[in-house]
Symmetry: none
Subunit: 203 residues, 4 copies
């Protein structure tokens, strides 16, 4: 009976592994547990993944790719202003953070893994996607940002911070509004605009 690799099983493994890797640090996750929870043999893991690190890498990568792809679709279909697109982005990241907190948790990692390159690549792609929106806003005169690349990198972090802070009486809409408001006009009182405060003096 020849059996072909089952994509469903692969997905299952990733799902289980995502949960476990999110629950405890890398070195405390045992492939034994992954196999047991997925109700497959330990050897089967190696049919679908080359090893622990690659499983971890695939985990991160595929989660990222899914989110980026979905978002890219939404943005390309959008005719909104940059700020409205930014809201879409924040909303997407927030939605993802809520729906798969585990995977989201994982993506934060600056871990030095062999796969890090690819993950970084996808992160980079996400960042570019956001930066693109920002640049369009700048070009349209809607936004003013000296370093849109850096700002882009903040978006996910802001969502992450909000999700982790996790005050129970804040709805996603509240958080979304708050992040958008911060991104839009900061927290300085409205009257005094202009360069913020004293420039740093020493190194």
């Amino acid at each position: 009976m020849v059996q072909r690799p089952d994509p469903e099983k692969r997905r299952l493994i990733i799902e289980i592994a995502a949960r476990l890797f999110a629950a405890r640090p890398y070195h405390e996750v045992k492939l034994d547990d992954v196999a047991a929870e997925a109700k497959i043999g330990k050897g089967t893991l190696y049919v679908y993944f080359k090893g622990k690190e690659q499983l971890y890498a695939a985990l991160l990568e595929e989660g990222y790719v899914a989110m980026v792809d979905k978002l890219r679709g939404e943005l390309s279909a959008s005719t909104n202003s940059a700020l409205e697109d930014l809201r879409l982005i924040v909303r997407a990241v927030l939605a993802r953070a809520r729906s798969v907190p585990h995977l989201f948790e994982l993506m934060r990692s600056g871990q030095t893994l062999p796969c890090a390159g690819q993950i970084t690549q996808h992160k980079e792609e996400m960042r570019r996607l956001i930066a693109q929106v920002l640049r369009r806003g700048i070009a349209d005169g809607e936004l003013a940002d000296p370093d849109p690349d850096l700002t882009a990198s903040y978006v996910q972090s802001l969502v992450r911070a909000a999700v982790l802070y996790d005050a129970p009486d804040r709805t996603d809409a509240d958080v979304e509004d708050h992040i958008l408001a911060l991104l839009t006009h900061g927290i300085a009182a409205a009257k005094k605009r202009g360069r913020p405060t004293s420039r740093r003096t020493e190194s």
Copy 2:
């Protein structure tokens, strides 16, 4: 006279360990290496720390405490505006993020380590410290923020995002300025102030 436990040696161990843990993930750091680099016997580690995890925990905790304490001192001595104090905060977090990037690895998981509770506690303390500054700014009419607690939780995340993004031609001063600018007046073009964009419509 008897030999007493040497606080200097303890500090040395923590320092070496911090460097190694910062360079690679937890499970790739060998206590053998820590001992070797500190030029002490492997057993000596266990005189000062109960084990690998506790060493790591002490590392994090003491680093955190040091940062919070130092910052608290600076802030209490400060006669600056809230925004200027916010700059002090960003600067302190940035400095710390540079020195122990892997710190974030641990702080995420609320369960694993015995010390996790304490770390969370310190995190909370830090958040309160920031929120206090924000509230003072609001009271002074210098800031306008509907949710200073949430905003406070962003600060570290912003720094973290910046550090992880890590574009090589950006100095810490640049990052600091950028974060402050974002926090201060956001990225909306100066002319159009007011509530940002369309309020979310669906759930």
Copy 3:
């Protein structure tokens, strides 16, 4: 078909371990050596036993059980007199004492090992088995013993003493005879029977 845990291998490990534990004290037996002598990987030990202590415990317990079971079988099949059954018992204990002399090392401490309770239980069972024979002999008028339970507890000790004394020119048969003779009619010269000597006077 899948590979199943091999009871044969488990038996082999126990056998090898029994030999090594019999040759030197517990803390001088290295699991490395057990694995090497059994020609299996070190990890395989942990497939069959949870650790060194559990291996040792299993060793003792199963040895004990085997002896008791074998002996019980012999006794139930026996139509001998009580004294003849006693000889069977002494012979069985003697055989066991020869094969695992260090067995006694562990059995003394009632706390240390998780299995200690079970060992004690088996010991008790053994004692009961012997006491039963003694009681039968008493009922048959073959024996006279005011405290068969206590006497039962002596049997193993006598064997143990003999084995530890270990004079090289004594065969097991000699020892067996000697113990039986002692148990049977003691060492008082034949003529003078009756209560032995002066009853103790002070407390």
Copy 4:
């Protein structure tokens, strides 16, 4: 301040160590604990004993010597019959077993330690002491024993078995009587004397 080795301290160490070694197996007793309980520095142990094994050896040895010496004194002063002396011996061993169960427990060990030789020597001495009494009894026609050396080795074991069996409603006098009775005329019913039962037939 020159300090001479303090015999009192040596005795203290031995006493503490005896308690600990009796409570758990050799490899679970830590010199740290011995030092801590004796309230001395760990290094001090090495002033009085060359190492762990030697401490253990000294422990066993001195306990043995004390008992043997005391007993030898009693016996040399005795003008009793052999059976009465035997009662003295049983009583002495029993008393010792009751008063310092720890040390007594230890003396049973057949452990393979470097010190084993000396212990064996003392054990041997004790055995000789007993055997001497037995031989005198045989010479006097009071006893009949084909192997007094072996019988001598039983005495302590019998006491040990009795102490370990430890039924709460038996007094020391009961145990003493029982052991003496067993040694004297065994447990065969009075009428049938002579060689016990069937001689073993196979090897």
